[in-house]
Amino acid sequence: MKPALIAALSLSLATPALADWQQTLDTARGQTVYWNAWGGDERTNAFIAWVSTQTQALYGVTVEQVKLTDTAEAVTRVIAEKAAGQNDGGAVDLIWINGPNFLAMKEQGLLHGPFVADLPNAQYLDLGPTSPASVDFTVPVDGMESPWRLAKFVFSYDAAKVAEPPRSMAGFADWAAANPGRFTHPVPSNFMGATFLKQALIELAPDAAVLQQPVTGAAFDAATAPLWAWYDALRPNLWRQGETYPENESVQQQLLNDGEVDIAMSFDPASTAAAIADGLLPETARVFVPVGGSIGNISFVAIPYNAAHIDGAKVVANFLLDPATQAHMQDITVLGSFSVLDPAKLDLAAQAAFAALPTSDALPTLADLGPTLLEPHASWMTRLTDEWARRYTK
């Protein structure tokens, strides 16, 4: 992506109504933004490094990635700072966040904002009240975090070894019975492991609508009874008989490459194509989703209330929403994450940039991915993983 194109796209926004934004840009110049983001994915790390070179050239803002093994580390850090009464000049400027971590920070008053409406590039977002960009795990965003990449739950498998992958979540129990020890999922204390359980819950719950409400004891018991019956049948046929689980989806992808399991999972539909290109999965790896569709959500960036470089952080959040940035991000040779922008709000040049992106056999089209299922209310996830731990952690 040429910096000139990005510059042109950003300059077109410099309308008088955005004089405040000019002030933000002026204050931000020279700042270094410490972006706390999970560091386990080299492509994401490389993308963030690219963002830094761009924001440096365009706005004089440097981005430093603070690589986390778990997003909650950043939350703990902000809490430690609050505990010490450090209410400004904090160490965390920007966090890659969503779901329970966002809920926790929002409830504890640890976030700066609302700020999203002030970002010039927010004009390309669908910010309607029920849009995925406005609701994070059913929790209203309220402008306290800004979207940057789309996530959709997919499975990957090696087509050379598996003739027919399961077609539904219920089908996983039969598939595992026929192929004992060849399937597993990340430990549910990890985000991806929890998502696997939620995906099953949505399909198996007698009434999926209750999942959009905050959880109650009775609703939980009724909604999860079929899930536990299914899981009790599945678990003995998991890898290592379900005694241990991979730490996260990257470790599971490694197990797939090592041939220890036949199926892996990801929140990034392009990750399989990317991993093949990177030599991390066999050429024959492919993607599938359950026929009923799969969970989708948006990853956000948020700014802690005590961040040292709030203006720089806003400039970075705005840059991430730039159509040129989003098109670059969706390129599978770069990151392959689907754009969060509303295609209807893009101009022709931006639409053409998206249409010209390269494709691959292992890269599903939007049609292949099927319907997007809504994330349950965040309280369900906590309850679900707690109950899973109570049942299966001895």
Binding site: G40, A74, V75, T244, E247, V251, L280, K394
Partner: protein
């Protein structure tokens, strides 16, 4: 005691007290407050036992506790037995210098790097399984839980691969202070078997010299985090990993039971050390009775051979693990059951992964700064003792060892809060400070014995020629002690490079070092990049050890007794 000596001692004590001991106490205090329900940031300000009740009710708590005890105590006891048996079997045939050379790579490589390599060697899809695959006819990895197993066996092996070489080094250097050959000859002449002489005569003399290092090993094994994440079970993990996870739970209220867990971790280590002390007292009684009974059997011989064999297997595993890291770092596509990569590439070393240069620079800077501070403190302390003509009091010895015995997770969260309170923001300076807390004790331990072994006649000669205390230090002691000082520095570099939790907590994650990156990457899917970081992680301390061998050899090439090569065998 001269006034000069008193002043120097005072300054050093204040520096150690305020710089090293106070932060630990402060951190423990903050953590303990949270463990009993007081954490104003979350609006909790009433004393309560709830965090402890919550802790006990957390799923898998009992299993985590059991795992910690089994892997921690088990690996320490087995390591001590094996190291002792191995020394008994090979001591007569191995000089301390040769031993040190053999052991250096094992001591230099940080725990995390060793764990990453071992995980690949031992896994069902790993190197050993790949070597067996053609024989066993596996086209898929066998279904065996050889790493992350529910019993913590892989973690136990991993800890032993690191602990046995450390204990071997400690025991070999302790044996240098005992007339082993004469005792052995006397014992054999009286009809005792080799192993029995070792157990009944030599070990009782060695134990007091290695007691503290064994405590350190036990404390470390009970509270290790990075190695337990990579090799240990995940559901549930060991207590130290579980506590670290609770500290980083999305629900901030989990900090309270996490703090209780951190304090429990400290209590476990204290109980473990108390157990060792109790066992020592019991042995002293039982041992006397056993000695007087006068048994002379040869029955210990197979035990010695088994211990030696086990040590060789462990060292072989460790060597394979280190080799596998280097191979992965230059691999491209490498899938089961290939013994060697299908395609090779230097891309992990360059291209998009150029982040390692910065991590290497940070790591080097931290190692340099922490070692410089620690060496200066240690030399000032030892020189203060010399000038005051005093030996070290037991409480001073305890002061030095304290940071190594208190589990890091027990005070790092509290220390972070405390540092922020005083106004020291997270960053390079805070990390240097936090690392010195752990580097200084090792440097001090490595330097103390050689310093005391310095021939006093040299000093007396210098004094008689009119050299004052300063000149005696700079012109006589330091040049003669160059080799042990450099060795202590190399030990310090190894310790600094390996620090994970202090760097993570005190650096607010901003100070990326080879170790923090390697542990982060080991939670990812790219073993090749992990291999790059782990290789560098092992290479840096190794280079420091090499320098410690080479520099005195070059500088003192025309001073036969100072080259470090033993001039005459004892």
């Amino acid at each position: 005691m001269t006034r000069d000596g008193r002043l120097l001692r005072g300054v050093v004590l204040v520096a150690v007290g305020l710089g090293l001991i106070a932060p630990i106490t402060l951190g423990l205090w903050q953590t303990a407050r949270a463990a009993f329900g007081i954490l104003p940031a979350l609006g909790r300000d009433t004393l309560s036992l709830d965090p402890w009740r919550d802790l006990a009710l957390l799923p898998g708590f009992a299993t985590s506790l059991r795992l910690t005890l089994v892997t921690g105590v088990g690996s320490t006891l087995l390591s001590v037995l094996m190291a002792t048996g191995f020394c008994a079997a090979v001591h007569a045939r191995m000089t301390p210098a040769a031993g040190a050379r053999l052991l250096t790579p094992f001591l230099a490589i940080p725990h995390a790097a060793m764990a990453v390599g071992l995980a690949f060697v031992l896994a069902p899809s790993g190197w050993i399984a790949r070597a067996l695959a053609p024989l066993a006819g596996w086209d898929r990895p066998p279904e065996l839980a050889t790493v992350n197993d529910g019993w913590g066996f892989a973690l136990l092996v991993g800890l032993m691969v690191k602990e046995v070489p450390f204990l071997l080094l400690v025991i070999l250097s302790a044996l240098g202070q005992i007339p082993v050959a004469r005792h052995m000859a006397a014992g054999r002449a009286l009809g005792y078997g080799r192993g029995i002489v070792w157990i009944k005569i030599i070990m009782p003399q060695v134990w007091p010299l290695i007691r503290l290092p064994v405590w350190v090993v036990l404390a470390y094994a009970l509270s290790v985090v990075d190695m337990a994440i990579i090799l240990g079970p995940s559901n549930p993990p060991t207590l130290a990993v579980a506590v670290t996870r609770w500290f980083t739970n999305p629900d901030p209220a989990m900090i309270l039971p996490a703090s209780a867990g951190a304090i429990l971790q400290a209590v476990i280590v204290a109980a473990g050390v108390a157990l060792l002390i109790g066992a020592e007292a019991a042995m002293r009684r039982a041992g006397r009775w056993w000695l007087r009974r006068g048994g002379r059997g040869l029955s210990a011989e197979p035990g010695l051979r088994a211990a030696s064999a086990a040590v060789m297997v462990l060292m072989g595993l460790g060597a394979l693990a280190m080799l596998s890291l280097v191979v992965w770092s230059v691999a491209w596509r490498w899938s089961f059951p290939q013994i060697l990569p299908e395609s090779w590439s230097l891309r992990p070393w360059g291209g998009a992964h150029d982040g390692w240069m910065r991590a290497l620079a940070n790591t080097g800077l931290l190692a340099g700064a922490t070692v410089a501070v620690s060496l200066a403190l240690a030399i000032a302390w030892l020189e203060g003792e010399d000038r005051a003509r005093r030996t070290r009091a037991p409480w001073a010895e305890a002061l030095i060892y304290l940071p190594l015995l208190v589990p890091q997770i027990g005070f790092l969260f509290g220390l972070n809060v405390a540092f922020l309170h005083i106004g020291i923001s997270s960053g390079m300076a805070a990390v240097i400070w936090a690392q010195v807390v752990f580097v200084f004790p090792y440097v001090m331990i490595a330097l103390s014995d050689p310093w005391r072994a310095l021939d006093p006649r040299m000093i007396h000669a210098a004094a008689a020629l009119g050299a004052g205390p300063g000149r005696r230090l700079w012109a006589v002691k330091l040049p003669i002690l160059l080799r042990p000082i450099l060795t202590a520095a190399a030990v310090g570099v190894a310790v600094s490079v390996a620090q994970y939790l202090p760097t993570l907590f005190m650096g607010a994650g901003r100070v990326a070092t080879l170790t923090t990156e390697a542990v982060t990457l080991s939670s990812g899917s790219d073993r090749r990049v992990t291999g790059v970081y782990a290789t560098l992680q092992a290479a840096l301390p190794f280079a420091a050890y090499l320098a410690a061998f080479a520099i005195p050899a070059i500088l003192h090439r025309n001073r036969r007794d100072l080259t470090g090569a033993p001039a005459h065998e004892p």
